[in-house]
Amino acid sequence: MNALKHNRYRNAAAVVAGILFTSFVVLQVNSPTIANPPVTSEFHGPEEVTAILKRSCYDCHSNETNLRWYDKIAPFSYKVAADVEEARKRFNFSEWDSIPKGDQEGKLWYIVNMIDAGRMPLPEYTATHPSAKVSPAELGILKKYVTEISRKHYATGDTAHIVGKPRVSQAPTSLNGIRYFDDYKNWKVISSTGRADNGTMRIIYGNDIAVKALEQDKIRPWPDGAVIAKVVWNSQAPDAEGNVKPGNFNNVQIMVRDAKKFTETEGWGFARFNGLELKPYGKTASFATACMNCHQLAEETGFVFDIPTKRVGR
């Protein structure tokens, strides 16, 4: 009786092992391969900068992906292939000029901030590829690099004659239906910022719902109906006393909280109106995905960058 039971277990184990082995073989055979297309326009930077980027970013964000043997074993190979595909879509150091010239600098700041926040390289990637980790000293090199390129661009400040008020006859509407409005000028200012990285300065307004959410520390998530408006000017060069004052008007950015409507962007609707003609930003409705990718960095404050904050115990 005992021997019969034992045999039955053995048979079952063999069947399970067979199924597992077959699945494993099938997965291996169908495992995705990652091709390395030609490098069309490589990113150029100082050697110490590119060395860090090559070691820490290029496996996913370039056409020079260097797979280790364990990256090619299914089921991991599926995850690796998906990550590389997504990473190359976000930006690709081998096709750097596919990013418009004017946006390349902003992308570099974004990269540095993603590393600074510990979001990149992906923790699950560095767990298996420890050499890809960016050390604090290396992060310092990257920060210095972006700071210097921006200083070079914005040191002179906005020297253009400041153009005064035009009147836009009709309030423009963003592709996602968010309409420009003037009423934010009567709202409370929740913060003001200076951005050395792109030579701008801002005033950030919140409507009553947004201000109340800040007062009650109820921003994760923010309540529906909260609206934040950010007015952006180009910065002038510092005056004799060191004051950096606003030059020409640049844009207005609006964030509208509606968790049901804007499900693809964490419940926030984004809109930006450029220049005094308030031209809505974005060619397709998917422009907000790019906004959200960056705003992921502000997850701790409900995806809003510019609110006044303090560190408190958990």
């Binding site: 700041w109 540095v112 901030n113 926040a117 920060k143 972006v146 700071t147 921006s150 153009v163 008020k165 035009p166 420009y180 000028k185 009567n186 409370k188 200012v189 929740i190 913060s191 003001s192 910022t193 200076g194 951005r195 050395a196 990285d197 300065m201 005033i203 201000v211 959410a213 800040l214 007062e215 921003i219 007015v231 000017w233 510092p238 006393e241 060191g242 004051n243 950096v244 004052k245 606003p246 020409n248 008007f249 207005v252 109106f273 005094l276 308030l278 960095l297 502000a298 701790e300 404050t301 960058f305 510019d306 609110i307 006044p308 904050t309 303090k310 560190r311 408190v312 115990g313 958990r314």
Partner: protein, 152 residues
Amino acid sequence: MKTNILTLFLTVLTFAGCSEPRRLAPAPETIFNDHDLQVVTSFHNDRTRTISVLYGNDDAVANAGKERAGHVAGEVYKLVTWNLKGNPLWFGGNINGSLVSEETVTVVPGRDGSPQAGYTLELRGGNNRENAAGQKAERISFIFAQQASVFP
């Protein structure tokens, strides 16, 4: 030996306390209650590590916007200054920290009928910056000299 163990224990405890992740919470106490004044302009200063917003009533906005030549009685200006700090969420950006001061300039009719400017300074958060009487005139001219930001 006992002392050593105690020291080690306390050190470990201290470091454990420091390294405990701390949450980024809103600081609504830094939001200025503008009492329906509008933003005239803003500026920041890396040397003094401060950031300021100049508010004004309709008369003040009209003057700073150069819509009106001289000052008129009734103009109210408030220059609010905060400490400047790095934005914890974005390397490369600076944001206002705690409130430092609130300077108010009000234009009232003088004895001879011509408008006269009065000045008050309120310091916040244990700030003890001196404001000598002689500086008043200087601060009034500074505030009057600010040009309104261009809004759409």
